[in-house]
Symmetry: D2
Subunit: 351 residues, 4 copies
């Protein structure tokens, strides 16, 4: 049953497999009259493109988005916007030797269990490549947010257990491939990545997402809470294993007095809530964090089984990232933009 | 816009405010022929009923569920099941003094910002009382799961920073009001609760949820992943600030080799994935954890503002829990049952 | 799977069986701040209440609506509005003799085929009684339309093949029980009803629905067209077998030149389109017609089978209408109000 | 807000404008393991392709469908199937002279009112070209129906008021371009089309749709009735102005005894219900009819206004059909296939 659509007022539907003809997205509910072109989408896609640094895969996808519908003379028309990205650099042969093996940590086993058939090439529909469609949609969502002055920032907070401590200026993240604003932490992260790479292993990490200038009153009781939808949106990113809002896991260790954000005439005294109370934005920064598992494709040999249940050993030889955290920054930004746009449009139905 | 419905094949819609006439739920998509009566729902509701112990509120709601539709001669008929719980012990007067004050940590401010009007009595729609409707629906969902032999267990893993370490036998949780299977931890938690109560303060904690016997293949790519829907379902519970799946936040600190669950002919070697790979169940236990903030209603005076923006002090005098973790156990169980039932029914459309 | 909900921005979910405890509706997406009380709902329900005239059933339901949630101090709050109507005058014994018989023209056979179980009392979920919940929701929808000055009128255009020809003043329909503005036609209809009643038979008819003052631009391409949603809404009323928009069936017999509504500076020259072009309102009156089959419950003996497939004869002895057209007027008005409100709120997401 | 998606278990989302880069459809919920290729889709598209006969437009679109995702080695995988058709023969210049004029009977005026912007080339999103995407989806839906032995037939029942009376053998429709099984009526229709063409005018008509072998029990109470969804699906086809089920408009003129389909041990005695009782299939043929308005694009001069509201005259010079009924046959077949597939998959969630 349908599961590749997300959002109610601003609604996206993605399609495509890693090594099929193309991946893409249909966006419904985008307001008309917004200036949009392929360069704008390209810019967003470039930010998640693999292959730019120490942590990245060697697959070189140009990732050229084509806007196939929904615009006229450079403006959105209010009708469905379809953006497609053709798969150019798909080396399917690399995957032939694992056609009948289930890679640990991947969806091979579960897709087979679900459908009785699977496109094993590059992970098929479960490939991280699908997130390019999300990023394209996120760029369109951001156009709606721009009208309200809403900005979303993300950064790498942790890689391989090494946490950034000095985050005075998020823009410092642009100075390194890991998108971490703490230069000292970056050095340690780079060393760790190099070390783990030698071992044929991989790393995970933590990404922080901050949306500023979100007006108070966004979000719906009681299931479509803003934080509930953020949690779903972020957890739907392949490797994410935990989502925190505001103080997150720490909130459970404080007392009510410590955790409550007391209210002053000029705003909340603290922001432990992450800008959301009872599922509705309070005007403060929306803050979320995702914890991302290490990339499951590793050279290091692992135990697995084949489709007949026989014990086998596997070493994934594809072109994979050591650490996907830099790329996931952009996917998190996109998903946050999509959730906020959806809820901002939903809010308009009340007025 | 609609936000009080959840689920696609098994769909629930809740309604009601803390001090309105009633709260309740309409359940759509429940298969016909299941034996159901009010005693069954009552049993589930009793498990979340406040007022049973050291940590609970003094509000005494009988919480008698009435099945108003969808059954005939004690069996479900396939048509919408409406279950209603009347509000009997609503003391609205207690709230008169805060009609124009925004309680820190509550939805007062955000509901006012969203709607320009709010039912301030007991938190209105944002009250934890709404979760009784979820628990009623969860009891119905569990009937579907029973047919498949799926069991859901929850327990209190942490309160006020005190973590249960010895969890050999989950059923030990029945021996105490805090629903924690580690008796030693319980003693410390009780002391902490007593201490915090004296200070007019409150505590949060962590609940662990385990669903066993879920077949492999449940969940939908790519947005309606099983873990994404679990994250949404759990984050939609009022006080939850973080959701983890499997190894959760720890997954981000392991290497790929450490985190991957290697596959043996008789199953997965470990269960860091929490039973979910690429958003689809792998046949192992589904494991989730929620981190719950402390109850925001505290006696300790806090700074706030009134509706005109003037600085004020507030001390919440209502009948509130010190620690909601025991009650939230049952709500987590219900939401997990609802998500699993929804996805199990969705899976049938493929066959 | 869920099928008792309708609408996306203004969303209703109905529940209840003819002889269960209650029927009702949960309304989501109603804007806050609208003045509402039970008298307002009662007024709408009174208009569809059976038992007022020559054509009606003898069942005497007080049909008292109770607003259980979603309002505070007489105003809507933006949260789900649940309106419930208890079943008081349900004489279930009348139906005992047909517990195992399938009444021709009714849903008995198909519900049994679908669910393998059915609440046979009074048609259960398939009873026309369910439409009371729609009428209650329609009264709430009308509050939203009132803000825009949108009015919906309906009248009986035809009963038993006798068509109203003189429709100069729709308000004339209030002068008779059949809700037909042509007094001469009414006399003929009454005679026909009396005649058919003697024969233990029943009649159908045609209802015309007109919504005026709908702004241009309402409706969504390409599936959720305004006329497509109207067609669904009206066809979902039990006995409706055909839905026309504007010139309807006659449009297919005109040429393009005859049928096109040419455009003058002060508006459309004609209104064959029924106020809808390409699924979007054009500012003219929205016009729809429904063709309603005769009530299937008749005293005249008919052939049927029992649950074991044996040939039987049946004569329906319940308290039924001879002609439901007067009541269906109100249900059509309600469904039109719900569709228009839904689309008017949806349109706001573009702005 | 989203309106280009249809179906809950079998869900389609279409995109594209008449003169944009491409049109297409994303299909979600298609079961895995079905054999599918582009030739199969092509065959369906060829049946609706314009330009084959006396009544058709001169636009020559090759209409080559490309399956971009959701299949592997010629089988569906259960993931979204995207089928795209590039626009090759789009002569946008033909439309330049009407960029600022609203064509009577078209969506020009209403799209402008709704969005404040429109792609005027060939009707943009409102073009009948969009139905090619529906036909592609219908071909996929039919694969699911094939597994159940469900067949859908359509034929031209009426053109320009000339009705087919002798319908002994539907397959006779293949002998003529008008897809009407009554050869005598065809001759009259052809004469009428030729006559109307000379006058620069156009014709509408009636299409009959019959689905056989649909099992009893398909359809959902109370809004997602099978007939309600059929009505929406068919009314969403651009030029349709009325939808009938079974006896349709005639049902309203019969008595209950005449209209009821009495039940014999071997089935229903008649089929006035059109195979649907209380919104659920009864095992008999599903019968629907659509009444289609004449094509609004005509050479004959008509009064209209320009975007500034000035009075103007318009004569549509594009390459248009005189009568779209033959093409609409295929679109009706596709929409019926989509509705039935959706409800057949939904029914599985009960089991």
């Amino acid at each position: 049953m349908s599961g590749s659509s997300f959002g109610k007022a601003f609604n996206i539907t993605t399609f495509g497999e890693s090594h099929g003809q193309a991946i893409g997205v249909v966006i419904q509910g985008c307001p008309p009259g917004l200036a949009i072109d392929e360069a704008l989408i390209q810019k967003a896609l470039d930010k998640r493109k693999p292959g730019q640094g120490i942590s990245g895969t060697k697959r070189k996808e140009p990732d050229h988005p084509i806007i196939m519908s929904g615009t006229f003379n450079g403006l959105t028309t209010g009708t469905p916007i379809m953006i497609m990205i053709e798969n150019k650099d798909a080396k399917s042969k690399s995957y032939d030797n694992i056609a009948s093996l289930f890679r640990p940590g991947h969806g091979d086993y579960t897709y087979q269990a679900k459908y009785g058939i699977r496109d094993f090439r590059g992970g098929g529909r479960a490939s991280a490549r699908e997130t390019a469609a999300r990023v394209a949609a996120g760029a369109v969502a951001q156009l709606v947010l721009d009208q309200q002055g809403i900005k979303i920032k993300t950064y790498t907070l942790e890689i391989g257990g090494i946490r950034a401590n000095r985050i005075d200026d998020i823009s410092q993240k642009e100075k390194n491939d890991l998108l971490c604003p703490d230069s000292e932490a970056v050095r340690k992260m780079e060393l760790k990545i190099a070390e783990v790479k030698k071992q044929g292993d991989s790393l995970g990490g933590v990404v922080q997402i901050i949306a500023s200038n979100v007006p108070a009153g966004i979000g719906e009781p009681v299931f479509d809470k803003l934080d509930a939808d953020i949690a779903k949106a972020l957890m739907s990113i392949g490797a994410v294993k935990a989502v925190e809002i505001g103080a997150g896991t720490c909130a459970s260790q404080m007392t009510g007095f410590e955790n409550n954000d007391q209210i002053l005439p000029d705003g909340f005294q603290t922001n432990h809530s992450g800008g959301i109370l009872a599922g509705i934005s309070n005007g403060d920064d929306i803050i979320a964090r995702v914890h991302v598992k290490p990339i499951p494709s590793i050279l290091k040999p692992q135990k697995t089984i084949d489709e007949n249940g026989n014990s086998r050993e596997i070493s994934t030889q594809g072109r994979h990232d050591i650490c996907a955290i830099p790329r996931i920054n952009m996917v998190c930004e996109a998903m946050m933009a999509i959730v906020l746009t959806d809820h901002i449009l939903r809010q308009k139905t009340l007025g």
